[in-house]
């Protein structure tokens, strides 16, 4: 079984918050491949930089979190999910469904999850709702 980690879940693995406990519980109980896309990598850096700009974390904390995340990628704790031509094609088809109100990144996350037959693990309710409508397996970090 494959679990595709959306950035909304990934950030709480490194910066403590209420949902962190539920995310860890999920990771503890499941024996599955943890997929992280290049998109999530970039979004992760962007989210931490935003938190730093808003003075929610110090420069040192930001750097520690970024270094650990990179180390975990390098050590193979995560399996990287790569975008292909097919991913863009499928994302393009998803974006044509106007009722879903998807951003480009949403569509790419959904397309990757679907193509890799992975469960999208997200804290983003709207992304989860879109996954449901597109028959993409999803899960959320709730008690």
């Amino acid at each position: 079984m494959k679990l595709y980690l959306d950035t909304s879940v990934l950030v709480s693995c490194y910066v403590s918050e209420m949902q962190t406990e539920f995310v860890f519980k999920k990771l503890e109980n499941m024996h599955q491949t943890l997929l992280v896309s290049q998109l999530a990598e970039v979004e992760f850096v962007s989210a931490l930089s935003m938190k730093h700009r808003m003075q929610g974390i110090s420069t040192q904390q930001k750097n520690i979190a970024l270094n650990f995340f990179q180390q975990h990628l390098d050590m193979g704790y995560y399996t990287k999910a790569y975008l292909t031509d097919e991913t863009y094609l499928l994302a393009k088809q998803m974006l044509q469904i106007t009722t879903l109100k998807l951003r480009i990144l949403d569509a790419l996350h959904l397309a990757l999850s679907k193509m890799l037959s992975a469960t999208l693990f997200t804290a983003d309710m709207l992304l989860a709702e879109a996954a449901k409508k597109l028959s993409v397996a999803y899960d959320m970090p709730i008690a």
Binding site: V15, E17, A47, M54, M125
Partner: protein, 85 residues
Amino acid sequence: MFKSVRSLKTELSDCLHRVQRGEECWITSHQRLIAKIVPVQSPTTIEDLKRQTFLIELKKNLIQPKKTQIPLSKQLIQKREDERY
């Protein structure tokens, strides 16, 4: 069971077989105890061990942000919602 380092070199396979069945093996060197081989309780596979190590590392290095702000995941989701129309 007790095994000297010298005997362990030739009887390692037998020793590990007995450990797998639940025994403990004390290793001796010059009449002194220097190590112990014990059966694995949990995790049972290398993948399990890797996962447990990963989670321990995550928990140990978790960043504690300022509590006055909303959680980072919520900030990220809000930012996403602003971009959806």
